[in-house]
Symmetry: C2
Subunit: 304 residues, 2 copies
Amino acid sequence: MGNTHSVGIVEVGPRDGLQNEPELLDTSTKVEYIDRLIRAGARRIEAVSFVHPKRVPQMADAEAVMAAVPRPAGVSYIGLVLNRRGLDRAFAAGVDEVNYVVIATETFSLRNQGMGVEASLDAWHDIAAAARAAGIRVSLTVSAAFGCPFEGEVPADRVLEIVRSALATPADEIALADTIGVGVPHQVRDLAARVAEAAPGVPLRMHFHNTRNTGYANALAAVESGVRTLDASAGGIGGCPFAPAATGNIATEDLLYTLHRSGMRTGLDLEATAATGTWICERLGKTQPPAMLGRAGGFPAGAR
Amino acid sequence: MGNTHSVGIVEVGPRDGLQNEPELLDTSTKVEYIDRLIRAGARRIEAVSFVHPKRVPQMADAEAVMAAVPRPAGVSYIGLVLNRRGLDRAFAAGVDEVNYVVIATETFSLRNQGMGVEASLDAWHDIAAAARAAGIRVSLTVSAAFGCPFEGEVPADRVLEIVRSALATPADEIALADTIGVGVPHQVRDLAARVAEAAPGVPLRMHFHNTRNTGYANALAAVESGVRTLDASAGGIGGCPFAPAATGNIATEDLLYTLHRSGMRTGLDLEATAATGTWICERLGKTQPPAMLGRAGGFPAGAR
């Protein structure tokens, strides 16, 4: 086996997965999805976002979801926030962590966040300080870190500049997101090494979409480069409603297959996660789930 | 960029891709598929197999396909053969290379080839010597080299034993196939290194299926481990009719995306290959092609 270390998984299906699905699920189905994920071993779950319901209708019931989810010990709920209003809602809803997004390119930031990168970084400092004062973990995600639908190439130096600028206010974790699924492993290795150097001691997380079938190679390159946490969504559902041609997150069950077969531990159960992925895809009316493990099954047992 | 070397692609869509498709295509469509692949830059094409038409009905017109394909300079056609009868048909049909398959496990070999591994190796010696005497390149593919649907784990030592035994008669190329799509990159690296040591100077090719979303990571691991040739099928069509739950080969266009973005050269055109993949999937009635590049498009140009 190549590695024997542990990899943390942030299950983002309830947030990034669902938010791009056209069919609105009711609150109880979302809560059941989260409950099934926890029973499959998920311990960090990006459960909701606190954004304007007109922009992301699927997240309009964020408070109701958070009020109804189970609260076993050791499970941490993350809420995505984009501004101070969202942060206040996240506090009130009782999340354990908040995740704030800065988009690496000006054009994409203006279109998606309604403000440029500098303004977005200003808001980060305010939000990170407030979260810290409230005793809540706060992570920063740099989106479009591997390429932008509008500007094309995103220089690694640009990503590093944003990370350095943001860390004037400490983050509990830095994440780099391949929002539109264009990255390849050498970018992952390069960025992982350079961010680790620029932000020593800050845990690094990565977030991949499988839009061009690079997501799983990128995920493995990340953990082989020292990244200890990966985002994934059970079923491989999801995308970004504001990114052209974006498709789903890497599927948690398919990621588990590669990691477990590579000798790494995640704490998640492959079969229960695959069953949950199949279940949510059925609920969403997907005839061909992006996740493949549910159809293919795990490594053959070899009973002759 | 991580690498700047050249990677050879064997386009296997016309053989491995089509043979598992339930819809039988007519000869002229197969020839058009091959012609489009050549115009997209393909130079080695596994065009047909010479097996019993009752076992693989899609390949019943192998002679007619070979009689009709274009023959531009520099294009090499490979025919898959499993026995001496197939080899004689391949000679008569005018292929440039033959590819013979030994399955790494006894159970799978008995079920698929109708003979055990030893008998299959005996046939290899006969076929390789005859091909060599006829001046035709001959390659050996070891199938199920990364795992078996019936026996489970396939020890690397077993694969090496087969390679060493086979090479009593020289091969122009050795290929390792992950026939059921269960392999992960550390297996690829391990086998690549060990086969290179056991068979110094013999070019190594690898063949991956994306059944569990590991195919592209495996392909990249292979080229990073010194493997210079990869099999892929435009559109990501294909599978193995005798392997439970096997799905398509890695898609040529999606492989090109990763390789080209990683700084490697292939000689193939990404857009023309993706268009060919989309075209063949439409011909086969696939509403959702396994290949993703045709839907997602390449790396964004970034015209602001």
